[in-house]
């Protein structure tokens, strides 16, 4: 499981990055241009902030031609959540691993 709480909290210590993440949580997938429109900062600055969020495992990018779309990586949010939400993500991920193990096991 990807869990690096320090990276996550440092990434979100910045209010602009937090606002970007909250928009992606609310609106789903957006490109840099759409994200820039309501951010109050320049497009290169938004790109840089998105890079930090990506490094922290909080967002995923999907290039399409020259446009890159961004969306939230739910697993990256695990360190922010209470224990119950932490374990909801944890068990889903472990069940994936259990299924993979069952495929590899002999009958």
């Amino acid at each position: 499981m990807h869990l690096a709480p320090d990276d996550v909290f440092k990434a979100l210590a910045d209010p602009t990055r937090r606002a970007l993440l909250e928009r992606l949580l609310r609106e789903g997938e957006l490109n840099v241009r759409a994200l820039t429109e309501q951010s109050g900062v320049s497009q290169p600055a938004v790109s840089k902030h998105l890079g930090v969020l990506r490094q922290a495992g909080l967002v995923l990018e999907r290039p399409e031609g020259r446009v890159v779309h961004y969306r939230v990586e739910p697993k990256g949010l695990a360190p922010l959540m209470d224990w119950m939400r932490f374990y909801a993500v944890f068990w889903e991920e472990r069940m994936d691993r259990l299924e993979n193990l069952l495929k590899r096991m002999d009958q």
């Binding site: 909290f9 922010l80 959540m81 909801a88 069940m95 259990l98 069952l102 096991m105 009958q107």
Partner: protein, 148 residues
């Protein structure tokens, strides 16, 4: 468990249908080395009353150790153990029960995991407090909650 406790606590339930035999699934849940390969390092034994730990690398806000005691073993049907915070975190940390239930179905098994006993105070927001922006974290959590 009393009714009051039932209403005050909550559970996480995860289910999977797997196209494998009961025997195979049971082994994956109860044989230490197999269990380690998908869940965590452990000294589990399928014996009621056996005390053991699951261990993962420590992380911010968690020492990575889970204290467990086997509560029930019904081969190929049900397995339950406590799943509690350990060490210095034991007094204030989570006290839950993990129950595995296996139901045979056509072509496989329905695997059900229920982790019960979460209380409202089982929060990890002390991490947010450490970084000085717990109020903002609360807002973000609210957005995450609406999403899920």
């Amino acid at each position: 468990m009393t009714t009051a406790e039932t209403t005050a606590t909550r559970a996480v339930v995860v289910e999977r249908r797997v196209p494998h035999s009961l025997d195979k699934v049971w082994r994956a849940l109860t044989q230490g080395p197999l269990l380690e390969s998908w869940l965590m390092a452990n000294d589990f034994q399928p014996v009621v009353g056996h005390r053991f730990t699951f261990r993962m690398p420590p992380m911010e806000g968690w020492n990575g150790v889970t204290d467990c005691e086997v509560l029930s073993v019904e081969p190929q049907r049900e397995l339950a153990y406590t799943w509690n915070a350990s060490g210095e975190e034991a007094a204030t940390g989570i006290r839950t029960v993990v129950t595995w239930t296996l139901e045979p179905e056509a072509g496989g098994v329905l695997v059900r995991m229920e982790q019960s006993g979460f209380r409202p105070q089982d929060k990890r927001n002390e991490m947010g407090a450490k970084y000085g922006w717990e109020r903002n974290l609360g807002q973000l959590e609210a957005v995450v909650a609406r999403m899920s």
